[in-house]
């Protein structure tokens, strides 16, 4: 049925619009602090990281003329004097400014072993006269090291000179480009794929463990008398109020060779020699399960709290046995909490850093520890960014799969 159009006077329209604008403005004002914070603390750094993972300007900035001269080089033979002489001159400049080390490091990443060669060549170029370099730069370079007479060296220089590159991603996936330019598995050490797999496996084990520990507890809490439930809830939350470091170190005290666990076991006569508990995958898993358990329990509890006990009673009264009734009725109803908890624990543990770093040893290291290593020690920020980006992609992909299978609308955090 056609409705009679509502006619507002011009004045009324204006005031209605003003009201609407005012409401929108208020809504924006309420969320803007969070938006700003997210923009500065989350969106900006992550975008920078994403950008850094394929933006690699170091070499192009250090030897701009060489890279410019190499544009026309096709890579079929050693480049001509127009390139090599310029390179020799630029090396000298770099050596003077004490920047040759940076170039050495950058080139070394593309072709391991180049570092010392670049450095020694740079020192030799520094001693040469400018005029000499202009006249016979190429000869000086070849004299300095035979490597400069190989075309593969120059290919490496060309690769390193690319401002935008996917090399970091290839490295992060244990791949490399071969002579002919196609992608293959890296012949040298392959660590990253294995590390990703291990990280996912550890995260999965932690998720399953905290689910097994958390689900019955959350169920009990949700159905217990409120006084008891509150007291128990306090114990669940207590770890939240304790410093992460304290909790992790307490596991060191427990698990170390002469720690509480080993002494108890030896004292009770179950073992003769102390077990290797600390600095293993086992210690990473057990400490992280302990730390992440509240993230599983809280969403589960809040969802279970909302499930009326009469559902189970109804199912039983209709003749369903307790276990089938639980599977068919209670479990689907608790699924929103279960998936929220599992997703939360899984995602947090995939990117966890501090606990594996402290108790994990070499065996219990996860991908974040390698990322930290590249940021702090090897100074390879580009690779760290690529590893981090891959981790982000992995999590988004997992979330997407989850959404397709279960439906993200099902998640209920509280």
């Amino acid at each position: 049925m056609a409705q009679k159009p509502i006619i507002l006077s011009a004045e009324e329209t204006v005031s209605a619009r003003r009201e609407l604008f005012r409401r929108k403005f208020m809504a924006f004002a309420f969320v803007s602090p969070l938006l700003l914070f997210l923009l500065f603390a989350f969106v900006a750094p992550i975008s920078t990281m994403l950008y850094r993972s394929f933006y690699n300007p170091t070499v192009a900035v250090l030897i701009p003329q060489t890279i410019a001269a190499m544009k026309t080089w096709e890579g079929k033979s050693v480049p001509g004097t127009d390139v090599t002489a310029v390179f020799a001159a630029e090396l000298k400049q770099l050596a003077k400014k004490r920047l040759s080390g940076q170039l050495a490091e950058a080139l070394n990443r593309v072709r391991p072993g180049l570092s010392s060669i670049v450095k020694s060549t740079a020192r030799k170029m520094r001693r040469a006269e400018d005029a000499d370099l202009k006249e016979k730069g190429t000869e000086l370079l070849m004299e300095a090291n035979g490597v400069w007479a190989e075309k593969s060296t120059w290919r490496a220089v060309a690769r390193a000179g690319k401002v935008y590159t996917v090399d970091n991603f290839l490295t992060a996936l244990d791949l490399e480009t071969n002579e002919s330019g196609s992608i293959q598995r890296r012949e040298a050490t392959q660590i990253y794929v294995a590390l990703y797999t291990k990280t996912l496996r550890i995260a999965l084990i932690i998720t399953v463990l905290s689910l097994l520990l958390g689900y019955p507890l959350a169920y009990y809490l949700a159905n217990a008398p409120s006084k008891l439930a509150n007291a128990l809830m306090l114990m669940v939350l207590l770890p939240f109020w304790t410093s992460l470091l304290v909790r992790t170190t307490s596991w060191i005290a427990l698990l170390q060779t002469n720690g509480v666990v080993n002494s108890t076991l030896i004292w009770s006569g179950l073992i003769d020699t102390p077990l290797e508990l600390l600095y293993t995958q086992f210690s990473t898993v057990i400490a992280m399960t302990h730390i992440l358990l509240p993230f599983m329990i809280l969403p589960l509890y809040s969802v279970m709290k909302g499930i009326d006990p009469s559902y189970m009673r109804a199912a039983l009264s209709m003749g369903s046995k307790p276990v089938p009734a639980f599977i068919r009725i209670y479990l689907p109803m608790s699924l929103p909490g279960l998936s929220a908890g599992a997703l939360l624990v899984f995602i947090i543990s995939v990117g966890y850093y501090i606990t594996p770093a402290l108790v994990g040893g070499t065996d219990g290291q996860m991908i974040s520890n390698i990322i930290a290593f590249h940021m702090q020690q090897s100074n390879n920020w580009e690779l760290a960014a690529a590893l981090g980006t891959l981790l982000l992609i992995l999590i988004v992909a997992l979330y997407w799969t989850y959404d397709r299978l279960v439906g993200a609308g099902n998640i209920k955090l509280g």
Binding site: D308, S310, A314, L316, S317, M318, G319, K321, M333
Partner: protein, 367 residues
């Protein structure tokens, strides 16, 4: 009680329940229910009626005593083996299953054929007039529709007994009345046995074959609705069921079935003796507001007292009068809204009259 086999369909024998091992929530509960009967447990909240229902359904243990169905004790039978249908106040319709799946659930538990389940679900959807709603989820139904689905789900597997725990508590007044009618209708048509719990006396009076009035864990009276209303056996029942006036007085003479009572204002009233012991001096008289007439009246009467007029309220189909006795006891009188309804000025004296068969004398200790 009729024949023995009929009355022993469901029996509660000296059932007691304590949650804290100190106080009894249900004290010595006895009840015999016939097959096909509609028995209501009525009482204020906390009177133990829901506990009785939960013990019957198997969700609470029985502290002492026994419950038998068709002569067999169900004390140690698991809830899922009792074959009892239950309708919850919250309906407890599974939100992740459609209406059809909800109805089919008890049948699939019983491992019926898919085609049988489909046919039966179809029948019951038709019975509750929700044929077009089979594929909807409970969240997409209105309160009354959910209630009907919950009812059908408790009936579909033809349990030997159906329990209803305040099933209409969440509905508004109009819908509640309609559902009362529908439940009664289904009960007459299908002839199942019902134990119904409510705190709403109108609901209890209109639907039940018998009502057990609960207070403090004890059944005060168990009788058909009219008996309960017309012949309450103690002061609690008289006060709990319907509206009532209470006048306290002194017993002056005991007869076989009646007592004479002196009430404030000096009058003597003859009332039927409900539970006044022969030695007791004090008692309370109850008389329903609609059984009192205001003089002058054509109605016959046995008792008469004088009271002062306080107020007159226009309710619609009747008019409510408030009077006050000499000891400030309030007396309410309901008069049909016809031309005979008298008018009074404030503090005017009025003569109120009624029959002995309509008033009862109770022991003083009112709970």
């Amino acid at each position: 009680m009729s024949s023995k086999s009929d009355s022993s369909f469901l029996q509660f024998k000296n059932v007691k329940k304590s949650y804290d091992q100190k106080t009894l929530v249900v004290k010595d509960f006895n009840l015999d229910v016939k097959k096909g009967e509609f028995v209501t447990l009525l009482g204020p909240s906390g009177s133990g009626k829901t506990t009785v229902l939960m013990m019957l359904a198997g969700f609470e243990s029985i502290t002492s005593g026994d419950i038998t169905i068709q002569g067999e004790s169900i004390k140690r039978t698991a809830p899922y083996r009792r074959n009892i249908g239950m309708v919850f106040q919250s309906y407890a319709l599974f939100p992740h299953l459609t209406v059809s799946e909800n109805l089919g659930y008890p049948l699939s538990v019983r491992k019926l054929d898919k085609s049988d389940i489909k046919a039966k679900v179809g029948n019951y959807l038709k019975l509750i007039e929700l044929e077009a709603f089979g594929d909807r989820y409970p969240g997409q139904l209105s309160g009354g529709q959910r209630q009907r689905v919950a009812l059908a789900r408790a009936l579909i597997y033809e349990p030997r007994l159906v329990l209803m725990d305040e099933p209409l508590g969440a509905l508004d007044k109009k819908l509640r009345e309609q559902m009362q009618f529908e439940i009664s209708h289904l009960h007459h048509r299908l002839g199942f046995t019902v134990i119904y719990v409510t705190h709403d006396q109108t609901e209890a009076l209109t639907m039940s074959s018998r009502i057990a009035v609960f207070n403090n864990g004890v059944v005060q009276q168990c009788a058909p609705p009219d008996d309960l209303y017309e012949r309450p056996s103690n002061a609690f029942v008289a006060g709990f069921i319907g509206e009532n006036n209470f006048i306290s007085g002194n017993v002056s003479a005991h007869k076989k079935k009646t007592v004479s009572v002196a009430v404030p204002g000096g009058r003597k009233i003859v009332a039927q003796n409900a539970d006044v012991g022969s030695g007791e001096k004090n008692c309370i008289i109850s008389i329903r507001p609609e059984k009192i007439f205001i003089q002058p009246t054509a109605h016959a009467y046995d008792n008469e007292i004088t009271a002062k007029f306080v107020a007159r309220y226009y309710v619609g189909d009747f008019i409510r009068y408030n009077f006050r006795l000499a000891d400030r006891t309030e007396i309410t009188v309901k008069v049909l809204n016809d031309l005979a309804a008298p008018e009074f000025s404030e503090d005017e004296d009025a003569k109120l009259v009624w029959l002995t068969k309509d008033c009862f004398a109770f022991r003083k200790e009112r709970q």
